[in-house]
Symmetry: D3
Subunit: 286 residues, 6 copies
């Protein structure tokens, strides 16, 4: 009972280590300020923490447990981001990611909309100029601008391209975009439509490079994951995603994000639950 | 900005050509007056137009775009149909379909409940007495009457049969009905339970005939498409449906409908989104 | 039937006059980019148009009808606003309001979040430097900044104050804010907490002045109007609001907005329906 | 436990008497086939029975209990009505009401949409040619036709007028309709806009006549009763309605209906709960 | 119409035989009193009865019909269970199951949360000391206690183990639990993670034994079955479950339950609909 | 930014003082294990904390602020309560309340269902044998048992009566119960049906006594507060409740609870928001 006399804490299940002693740092970026269609990804980090207590800490897939002594994760809560000034938000995200990277810890960011990845990638690129990005998504996000704006969920990978240059971004699961986006990615990046074909080759090719892994959860089929702002039929299943994620995590991962969960569109709660389970599997696989 | 000084228009994305210059005419039939279980299909045409702006005009499946210059579609909005008098509603639908057919354009009707097909089929049959029907559905819709009524969503294909006669209707995906309906279809039509087995043969067999394509969206599994009045487990996936639709559209299609989207049962919006995507693919494939 | 051969239009019920011949111009500003708590006001203009067909054009309160020949309203649809760049959005709103005002028509803006008022007020102030604002709201919106940002739904009236100066803004129904906001308004503006006490006096006092009327719908009690981002118990009822609106509209009104309807939080649809009815009453009273 | 060996029964709480021994007969008419805006009233009778077990049988308002020995109510379940043929549905309702009236019992019909009243009124008028109707509603329902149809929820009171003639229908709470409907009722019936003013006089005037009481639940304000197809702001509260109902029930009531509950629009369940409570109070007051 | 003069009955579609003449007895146990995460399974039996009228009595999978003369099922409605006293609830369930078994009928229990199985298993074990259990579930339910409590949805199979002993329980589809639960089941029972591998062998092995079949519906993937309290990604599909159920039903089944439907989490209604369909298939296969 | 390097905390807005330095202790009791109708009150404490950041810390009603230096509140989070063993849950609540009372702090408990009050009252009675209870509620909660169980949300005030004896409990707003409950309270306690009439007298009468204040939020009308398990029409408004609460808080209050918020039934979120606001007003008034 005495624990009730400490201040109430609110972390992802099993992620209650101290910052100094942790290898991995979770933080939330509750921002969806450029969402053009349906907002709501801002509620994802809080929902993921709340609902994480409905899953187990143990994974029967990996036979590992978040309570195992060698798993050391700190949950830093959410950054306090202000809507209405996108550049400032990205700077806040970059600054916090800088801090984590400079302390030689692995940042695991919970979005928010996909644009938040840009803040983290800017920090990662600064430290690792030879950075690669593995990108799972339904949408190419390769527009040069969206209604005239350069900073948008629909342009985020193009902005990453601007930083990293040719042949550094590897896209999988893409099934929506303008013709120009597909053409751009075919020319300047690697793009695989619809599924994970070719992932093995890419992994082999970049296995010695520092890799940022950007996982837009709408790569999943809406049947598995309805809780997202822009559901796009024809996606991959959870059973297809999980081994692909495990494969990607064998790389030299230096940063991760999972984005675009929007809990409000899924009254069953299974999208949040799936995101929690996926986050557990990611933390255990790292 | 000056465009704001024209009257506001409301069409399916990319379907803003003039009637006279169009090859294809979309129109909505917001009617669910015989729905015996859960109504709501009346809201489908409006929802499809509203949400169509969340999808792209470009198809990575076909590498075509609704904005390509050779795609000419007019969206005529919704017919104003009165609930309570079913025969009159069918006449309104028939009249408008007549007009489109007589102008040598292709009608693409967005229901509404499945009974609306009967109005369009009556018009199509008048112009094409040798008409065939390809029918994708979860339900046989082959009852002779429903609680004594001859005009019902549950009898629509039987009424089509009354017009067309033996061996003209080809049913796929059917997984619900009375024993008598299955027996009737086995005797007088072609019926394939559960999936699209046999579609190739049928396509080959009727490839020289005029074909009406009636696509009841509840042929999809409720996992993919929960937004429908009578969800029936065990259906086909979107990934199975799309190639089957492409196959059917290789025929000499003279009319199409998609029916039984009921947006209210799907708070994720993915059923509407899927219907928009499917409609885009249909328009591009024609 | 021939009307189906025109392009589909989508206007508020009865508001189908041409721009040139109209006295009043409705337009939507689907923006909620600074919403700090729960977004969704972006969906209000579309919902109001869609659902306007469920109300009558006739008002038994005023015995007037939107179809009466002397009522001339043009609905210009929605401005295409880009999320992520707040200043640019405000400029777009200001430009369109400028155009309406310079054509000597009355702008009636449907938000969107409350910040959109600032764009319209900037235009109104340019034409009418002696402008007053009548402001109905649950929230004072008088912060100088919100998490460092000057442009926010929570600062909108403070920004208006920056333009207009002392004793020009008259606030009613306010029941939430920081202590400093209440103190600021008591010192520099007129503020009435909780209800419409004192409205008569204010109306008498400013009856010769040009007046902008800014109606944040969350002034209503959430019992009457649950469909809003930040519901605040203890508000006025519809039966209290309607006569207060009629009173305010007796002034020399040169611009109006209604903001902060967020349809998604009200599955009954009655918040949208109330907004439609209120808009009808406003249009008929002008 | 032995009761589990009888077939499961499903009646409104406390209404488990046998038909022969009952004074009052409840029956449901799950029909909303002419609903032009939002259907769903078909689900009301089932919802009312299901949820009735969440209320008490005892009324602290009247100090009476449905279990008191002098309260004898039979619940006959729902009529099996077919959608798509409105006239036939009305005949089914009329036939069953005829039976109840000819057995000298009091019919209490649970709609369904408001048009169902016409079936019961036809039966009542046949037995009582001098019939009066007390009508509580938000909508006048006095159109001569709706989109050309004579039988509609929007015309139901006009059809009753056609039967009964001038000065037999007394309308209260009406706050929506076409100008012509209000003018018609002012000329041929009694109409009181917005509330129950004048009810006392009317009760006094018709106290010796047979009276049918038609209670469209949307007379209530949507704040109290959001679960209805066409919510109309500005209605009466439950606390205003209850005494007005008690007053009306002092008349020589020969038939009652309550209509237009549409449970699906109220996820809180309080609209169904209110309808249950109101039905209990009506049964106890009779 | 005369049927309306009997008391209203409420049974699963087609299950209207009398107790004495039936081979199978359906009953509901609306209890979710130990649900630690999200309650709601209490509403399953009522929902299943209500919605059963939306499915057909005929199965195209088995070419059998609930109306066929050799199908004799009695639906006894729901046990009246009191929340707050778990042991008492289990006794009520055991007593009623005892009665059914002693009358040589087959009990088919509709939960409720999974703990209800314990009541039925206690009765079955008493009659059949050599009992086996086939258990389909997402969760192992093998904890020895849950927060100190021995009786919980999370311990139900452990309590069954306590009764039956080693090598009597056969678990399939399990994908969530503590490490200790998996280890315990591997040691004392049979457990297959994720799917139905090994089911054939087990069926062969126990084909001469009395078998209780406990079907926790959350064995299904949440894509197919979102309406459950603890959705767990990575489950089996309906198309995988159905043949596995048919296989299990070839055994000497002496009792069945289906549990953990929680209708409130699935606004599409397809989880209830799937449960109805599955129950129909089970009843026809027995 | 450095604050992100502390462990994430989760308290009611402004209630971040340390236990030792606080006068008031908030704690949650997420228990709804005896809810007979609709569960969900278990989610209230978490929802109240989450959503508290959408309200201001400042009260314009009292001109006080939770950030004022003289307001010292500690939020201890939620007790970890196990469903299925009611007596044990009550003991846990009693123990924690004992601790708070023995440290001379004021316990403010956030339910949970109403039965949780019994745990706190047992502790309060032990310290203050001359205890009185002010009870605001829609339901009398005076049954001696509910389906045979002595411990139930429906019996909680009767159990309190068993402890305290005659003329110690004062009930207001009661509008539902069995006849026996009303008769019992009239004989042994004070009961005022429907509203707060007589509250002044009672306050005057017990102003020198230690008082426990039990506020079941369903005393509010469901129009104001739909988010509760058993909505009961005819309740008091927020504007009536607030001054009554302020009046009650003038007494010698030694413990408080607010119970029966069930967030899931109110998608608008206004019930949670109202509870947050009420809790703020209570904390500021103490």
């Amino acid at each position: 009972m005495t624990n009730k006399l400490d201040k109430n804490t609110h972390v992802f299940i099993g992620c209650d280590k101290e910052y100094e002693k942790s290898d991995i740092v979770i933080f939330g970026t509750p921002f969806d300020g450029t969402a053009s269609y349906r907002p709501g990804a801002r509620f994802a980090p809080s929902a993921i923490r709340n609902e994480s207590y409905s899953i187990e800490t143990y994974s029967p897939y990996q036979d590992k447990d978040l309570c195992d002594s060698n798993i050391k994760v700190f949950d830093g809560g959410d950054l306090e981001l202000c809507f209405g000034n996108t550049e400032k938000v990205l700077n806040q995200i970059k600054d916090f990611t800088d801090k984590i990277l400079s302390d030689n810890k692995l940042p695991v960011m919970i979005g928010g909309e996909h644009l938040v990845s840009l803040g983290a990638v800017r920090a990662a690129y600064e430290k690792y100029p030879d950075l690669r990005i593995i990108h799972f998504d339904a949408h190419a996000d390769m527009r040069d601008d969206y209604l005239g704006e350069k900073l948008s969920h629909a342009t985020v990978m193009r902005r990453c391209y601007d930083l990293l240059g040719d042949d550094k971004i590897f896209q999988f699961g893409i099934r929506s975009g303008e013709r120009e986006e597909f053409e751009f990615s075919e020319k300047h990046n690697f793009i695989n439509k619809f599924d994970f074909d070719g992932l093995d080759e890419i992994i082999n090719k970049i296995k010695d490079k520092p890799v940022y892994f950007s996982l837009d959860l709408d790569v999943l089929d809406p049947a598995d994951f309805p809780g997202t702002g822009t559901p796009e039929a024809g996606g991959v299943s959870f059973k297809e995603l999980l081994p692909a994620v495990f494969d990607a995590l064998k790389l030299n991962i230096i940063g991760i994000d999972i984005t675009e969960l929007s809990p409000v569109y899924d009254p069953s709660g299974r999208s949040v639950s799936l995101a929690c389970k996926l986050l557990r599997e990611i933390l255990l696989a790292l």
